[in-house]
Symmetry: C2
Subunit: 363 residues, 2 copies
């Protein structure tokens, strides 16, 4: 296809077209410095500026306080599942989890595998993760080293309608699928981390925003790469970071800034998601299983209720230039991931397709 | 500068210009599939083909036997320094090292930090790492779980003139700065790993070539991401890999294949390095401190012997479009990293510059 598709992938997923075009224009000779960013020494003045600029712009658009460090770490969420306990579960070794989907559960299972004293404080698994449980401060173990949540659940399409009050216990949030989609009060969290591959940049980096007092407590014998302090003390360049992804992330941060920042982006996201949920709810054919107040702005999950028809939906949608509408391999159905870079036109095209499909397939 | 520079960076470093151009041309809409590779789901048919193709081409050009797995892992050499012992030092916990430079030493120090029973079997540190020690089979502890070497030492510009005979003990080689520059008998090694950022692709991936019988022996409580078997069992996509770097790596593998493979590339590398070393040795001004038989084809280290003049050399070279000729921050002097993608014309320009600089600065 000569045209670009509307890519509803859960991640990696769409990036702003103007950013991709600018990256392509500069790929052979970045701003006439003689090198591609792909070829730049991470110790060069040129790349140091790219990295510092990316961090500064992120701090600006997310309003990150000075007592938080911003790190760009490789290994994705899977490595964060191990790094967080190694760095934070160092006093009692107790970790409390709210299990709201596969990724929250993976974080929990990793802590179990590594031998920590874990507790599932609440779970919505018995109801196929279609809502976010309400958890109060008293529910957490007072001597827990931290509480882990997954703030937006990519697979099930839920999003916390509130920030759990954990008192003095550091709250750690996986925000992989909602970072930069809304304004967030960073001070409510001990760590916010997010794989960049959904809403920010090409895969291979997790952004870690960590309160400074949580650094430097890891045991001496853990792998060097897994100690946040090593990354913090070396401005994310203790070893060669994923330079290209950091560069594209910085370009996306700047794109967001010049388009009104996260408040403006959130307004657009609300408009896009509302349009799609409203259509689904009123369609009499598609169903969105998630409780209304817990619905994600980023991942819109819906079903028809017949597996064969759903397969047909996904295939015909792809042929129509609407890519990756299949639900996660673990649950099936459909999922439209509509991150920042999905234009409203994509929602309109999807609804148009859904209406046509309904007319052709509803009995 | 409108022209591309000759970039002598130790890494990240130059990539073949035709590969960069092709990547740029396909960046917005990869082969008209409607998506950028940067936006592709790692579970999509399109990306799975890119990944499988990259692995198959690498197997072809490196002649990798079927009983070796090829993995693309994030975290660079620093994470490999921890992953190798966690996966291999599981019987006696004894690890033998040959220390031939900073990176070999870092591997050793990481194993010490993690509490393993380490032994430095040989080191050339007392002679500023200007040669590769000769080590015999009898020098290794017979019950060592593995032996670690750094096959090409980026900082000091040395390369093993032989493959150490370790008998039945698995030999693990860090080949970050020489992979794909020469033909290698993979069967001599238990693991070959290499960060891709020097000779292959943009940073953020280590290629790990591991003999199958070494998989599956790690302790149950290690972080999931650090277990090679997890990566092997999931074709390097247990979690989202660094998709873009893997894609570019695959393009470079194909570039090498259509240009005669590693034998042809090695011939070019020998010609380039010989020309530069011959000039240095005959210059009466520059000196290459490394013992001749141990000289690297990839990293050519040389000095003038006066720090101020060397600084001037590096600055004037940069102004002349010859980038990153400074030696590693730990030793100073000069270093020309001349990886596969450095054209012979770059060597000619460098020698021309060196001769002019000598005429202007020799007393």
């Amino acid at each position: 296809m000569k045209e670009r598709a509307y890519n509803f992938s859960a991640g990696p997923s769409m990036l702003p077209e103007e950013v991709i075009k600018d990256v392509a224009d500069n790929l052979l000779n970045y701003h006439e410095c003689g090198e591609s960013v792909m070829e730049m020494s991470h110790r060069s003045a040129e790349f140091k500026e790219i990295l510092a600029d990316a961090e500064a712009t992120l701090r600006d658009i997310m309003n990150i306080p000075d007592n938080y460090k911003v790190l760009f770490v490789q290994g994705g969420g899977t490595l964060q599942f191990a790094m967080v306990p190694l760095n934070l579960a160092v006093n009692t070794g107790k970790i409390d989890f709210i299990v709201t989907g596969n990724w929250a559960k993976k974080a929990y299972k990793e802590a179990v595998k590594m031998g920590y004293d874990t507790k599932v404080v609440a779970s919505s698994e018995e109801d196929t993760f279609t809502y976010i449980p309400e958890v109060k401060k008293e529910d957490f173990r007072p001597d827990a080293d931290y509480v882990h949540i997954c703030y937006n659940n990519t697979i099930y399409g839920t999003h916390y309608p509130y920030i759990p009050d954990t008192g003095d216990i550091p709250l750690v949030a996986d925000m992989s699928s909602c970072i930069l989609s809304e304004e967030i009060d960073v001070t409510k969290f001990g760590i916010i981390w997010a794989g960049v591959q959904k809403n920010v940049a090409p895969s291979g980096v997790a952004v870690v925003i960590i309160r400074e007092d949580l650094l430097g407590k890891a045991a001496a014998d853990i792998p060097t790469y897994l100690d946040y302090k090593i990354h913090a003390d070396n401005d994310s360049a203790y070893n060669t970071p994923n330079t290209f992804s950091i560069y594209v992330a910085g370009e996306v941060f700047k794109y967001l800034k010049r388009n009104g920042g996260l408040a403006a982006m959130n307004k657009k996201n609300v408009a896009k998601a509302t349009k799609l949920y409203d259509y689904i709810d009123g369609s009499g054919y598609y169903k969105a299983p998630v409780r209304k107040e817990d619905r994600s702005l980023m991942n819109v999950v819906f079903v028809i209720g017949d597996k064969d028809v759903e397969k047909k939906f996904v295939a015909e949608a792809k042929a129509a230039g609407l890519h990756n509408l299949g639900g996660h391999r673990s649950i099936g159905g459909m999922r439209a991931s509509i991150y920042n870079a999905m234009p409203e036109e994509g929602i309109d095209k999807l609804i148009e397709f859904m209406e046509k499909f309904k007319e052709e397939n509803a009995k």
